[in-house]
Symmetry: C2
């Protein structure tokens, strides 16, 4: 195979950027042999000169601006490691317009600005690569783009955030409280000092938007994804759920049927037997269903310098070998909002604080909201759990409101959705 020489610029040399630098340097020869592309790091950009020194990067490679990189004819691919929307967005658009391909792990920026990157890529002729944006080193993006062409994907369920999966796994295994497990996750570096992006579900929402857009071949904007985090989860419900045969996970779920799309992120109970139930700690997994392939699951580390660096490097090698880059049909921010279903359907777990005299009335409320039969479990004095079959979210919310209006009902202390 004739060797193709490819120059790369790295924007940002933090944890993942530094990891990528190391992997690219270490595997250059092997990649040359396997893929026929000789990848050379031509430029780096980082305000922090300490990092450049620590990595032993030659001064001559240090760029002072994105313009310098955009103008460099020897740079073919620009990989970005900033995180957050700006300056990542402007820098990558600048690179794309200059004809480079770009590689990014930046799920927030990609999910919000995909149409702008796509348009810039069309103008410049390069491609947009983002394997590292979802589920770290596990090739979920390449699977959706390059291995599912023989399928219509009908649904996906993912554990796409390691921080929340770590916290929920510990709560589940040890019976420890949310706060204690969050602190432990922070101590171990699995959670940020400000954990909101993870625990409130934002990160999973960005990823759900990206994965669903690819799966259903239509842009699924972030703001159409329903979002609920894990900070209100009571360890008591995890234990009761376990008894009932369920494992709790923060799930990114989406479905597509007859052109109607629903996408959501929320804590959910899954049957213990579901393959996603055994995905523990900081591991991630994506479970998808295609009309021809059936069920497929991809599992591995969703974060960390080396797993994410591994995905970035594979994207660089993949982009380097391409002559025609994939184009996505997402050229505008506008989408037909009518096709997004807000009122999805699930099973529901409801823990209700109520005196026993009101149980009949509660069941009646459920019945009036479409629950023909339900499981009832006493879990404490004046505390009862109701498990429903699939009903509409709106019906579940209405049932909760109606229950709380009943005399004898103190409150609905927990509502957890159930997936199958």
């Amino acid at each position: 195979m004739e060797i193709k020489k490819v120059g790369v610029a790295l924007l940002g040399l933090g944890v993942v950027g530094g990891g990528t630098y190391k992997i690219l340097t270490e595997k250059r020869e092997a990649i040359c042999k396997s893929d026929g592309v000789d990848i050379e790091i031509k430029r780096v950009l980082d305000k922090n000169s300490e990092r450049i020194k620590e990595l032993g990067i030659d001064e001559s490679l240090v760029a002072r601006s994105i313009d310098e990189i955009a103008a460099d004819k020897e740079v073919h691919i620009v990989a970005e490691f900033f995180g957050g929307v700006e300056p990542a967005r402007s820098f990558l658009i600048r690179a794309l317009e200059a004809g480079k391909s770009v590689v990014t792990a930046n799920k927030e920026m990609l999910s919000k600005c995909w149409h702008e990157l796509e348009l810039a890529a069309r103008r410049g002729g390069g491609g947009v690569y983002f394997e590292a944006s979802c589920v770290g080193g596990v090739p979920v993006i390449r699977t959706l783009t390059d291995s599912m062409q023989g399928n219509a994907i009908t649904s996906m369920k993912g554990i796409v955030n390691g921080t929340t999966n770590y916290i929920l796994s510990r709560m589940s295994d040890e019976g420890a409280s949310y706060d204690a497990c969050l602190k432990e996750a922070q101590r171990l570096g699995y959670a940020e000092a400000d954990p909101s992006a993870d625990v409130d579900g934002f990160d999973s929402t960005y990823k759900n938007s990206i994965l669903s857009s690819l799966a259903y071949r239509t842009r699924v904007p972030v703001d159409t994804v329903y979002r609920e985090g894990i900070s209100d989860i009571d360890v008591k419900d995890i234990a009761i759920g376990k008894d009932l045969g369920y494992t709790i996970k923060l799930l990114a779920v989406s479905k597509c049927a007859g052109g109607a799309i629903e996408a959501r992120v929320h804590p959910a109970f899954l049957p213990h037997s579901h393959p996603l139930s055994s995905v523990k700690g900081s591991f991630n997994a994506l479970f998808l269903h295609g009309d021809n392939v059936g069920d497929v699951m991809l599992y591995g580390r969703g974060a960390g310098a080396l797993p994410t660096g591994s995905a970035i490097v594979s994207d660089i090698a993949f982009a380097a070998g391409k002559e025609r880059h994939r184009r996505f049909d997402f050229e505008t921010e506008e989408v037909d909002r009518a096709k997004f279903v807000g009122d999805f359907s699930c099973g529901y777990y409801l823990r209700v604080i109520a005196d026993s005299a009101s149980l009949g009335k509660i069941i009646d409320v459920l019945r009036r909201n479409g629950v023909s039969d339900c499981a009832v479990k006493t879990v404490g004095e004046n505390e009862t759990v109701f498990v429903t079959h699939k009903i509409k979210e709106s019906a579940a919310k209405r049932a909760v409101r109606d229950m709380e209006l009943l005399s004898g009902v103190e409150k609905v202390a927990a509502l957890i959705r159930i997936e199958d």
Copy 2:
């Protein structure tokens, strides 16, 4: 994206060929939109004219020979569905030499004749694609070739044969005998009338050869893969193993350390907590470890017309979009045999029929063969199970021979390897 027109020929229209015909026809427009390639079926070849009629294929597409297809300038990709070495091998070499790319699910032919296909591909300029050869519609091949460039793969464990996994899962879940479960698998169409290719491990060996060759980037010939099937597995040992915390699987295992490669196929006990332990029935999975990405598992249906057809179609679309085809460094049949390790290491489960007076002597035999400590479990009158830590296969075999020479030992009734 400019649409590229691509013509395809299908060789063989049996179960998978027919499934591929249907998927290609049904998804043509969607693939055109997502991948920018318009895939048209230009030629089919099958001696059975009934099949052609059943699929509603126009007479004008029917070719009378591979030469006619090789000469057809409108055919760019040839997909083969014959199975077995010949005529698949000759036909695909013919197509490659004529400059076509080829797509195949034929693990036996590929694992045995890869070097010949590779040489023909180099002469003609096309590529060799074989996603469907291992683990059906799950993109294990594409993952190894196009998503692991940032890694040295150090080990793999796979459940790569659905028939044997179905049989072992039923034996394990229901306590039914091997013979009963094999019959049931045959009745359901999961096993052939002559089940040897599956139950004796040949099929898994072909797949191990292909997967290991890709993972370690060096040809791992089929005859270097140790092979043992499942037909001697006693349901009794499955039950005892379950108690000890193990699930039985027919595993394809391979490892690469310091250039030394071991590859093997045999029944093995895995801890219940291992992600592969929950892969049940006819499902397959590949678990691999990369030095940067860590553990990755890919899971799904390993066989069947539509899952396999899905992989074939994704290969056709992938090949159609390529300008430069991947070249493998496997141009000769010769390999340096010194790098293959025959004497691998495992834990061992040994069920020994012996009177209780000889237990001390048995432990002494184990000790002399390198087992410093072992678990001993009485499982019947004059029947004891010994579980060792990791030792060499040669030491385990020697220990078995030495035990059987002891007076008081009737026989070693079971030897099952243990993986972690």
